[in-house]
């Protein structure tokens, strides 16, 4: 999975590219787990270049969110989520477990 990362003073921004489904959700999980393994729990996931996400991808985000929020040490926030992805996320009630921002400045500034 193609992915770029940017380190900010108070958080890390991760930007995956393309389609996230059962074929590569585990790759995304491994990449995000690298951050939490390094005790980086304040994460911004920039989804501006993600055009599809199935429930396999959302469950990865839920598991990472659980790790980040434990002991109130951080949070995984989302930014620039495609309307169709957001629609299906809300449909299964998973949208409520994430703060979703419309621009990176606001997302990074939330930490």
């Amino acid at each position: 999975m193609e992915l770029t990362t940017t380190q900010y003073k108070r958080c890390d921004l991760i930007k995956p590219v393309g389609r996230i489904d059962g074929s590569n959700a585990s790759d995304l999980e491994k990449l995000l787990t690298q951050f939490t393994d390094e005790s980086k729990f304040k994460l911004v996931l920039d989804m501006s270049d993600v055009n599809f996400m199935s429930s396999a991808g959302w469950w990865v985000l839920i598991r990472i969110q659980k790790v980040c929020k434990r002991y109130k040490r951080g949070e995984l926030v989302l930014v620039n989520v495609d309307e169709r992805i957001r629609g299906s996320l809300d449909l299964v009630g998973m949208g409520s477990y994430f703060k979703i921002f419309d621009d990176i400045t606001a997302a990074v500034g939330s930490f």
Binding site: G22, S54, K66, G87, S88, V92, G93, M94
Partner: protein, 144 residues
């Protein structure tokens, strides 16, 4: 117009199945949001086939048929895995605490929400047959 392709029951076949179905959905004249709905429903269904019907990768094939008609697109998925006939569709838990959420279970619910008609059958010789239809809505056709 009817097209059928057999795909291996593997996760890395999911993007190929998506391409096949998305092309047919566009050809059927569905809107972008309808195409996404079909793409998502088929992805969830194929993941369920690999995970549950076959119980893992490389245990069998997924036969995918796209039927483009006046009313829209019908996708039929056949597998020879364990018979599957859901008696009820589990709705996602509302207001559950984050720590209480357990992975899985959203796929079936989504398939029914994304598609207009969904039917399951187990046919001797064919195996599990899942038929899903997305209708061209009059309203959205007018918007185009």
């Amino acid at each position: 117009m009817v097209r059928t392709v057999k795909f291996p029951g593997r996760y890395d076949a999911l993007p190929k199945i998506s391409n096949f179905v998305v092309d047919a959905a566009r050809e059927a004249g569905l809107t972008d949001s309808q195409v996404y709905a079909v793409d998502l429903a088929v992805d969830e269904a194929c993941t369920n086939i690999i995970d549950h019907a076959y119980g893992g990768e490389d245990m069998g094939e997924i036969q995918c048929t796209c039927n483009i008609s006046e009313e829209g697109l019908t996708v039929t998925l056949c597998d020879k895995g364990r018979p599957f006939k859901p008696v009820k569709i589990p709705a996602p838990k509302e207001n559950a605490r984050l720590k209480d959420l357990k992975s899985g279970g959203a796929g079936l619910f989504l398939i029914h929400k994304m598609m207009d008609k969904v039917n399951y059958d187990f046919i001797k010789g064919l195996g599990n047959v899942l038929t899903m239809t997305k209708l061209k809505s009059t309203k959205e056709v007018r918007e185009n």
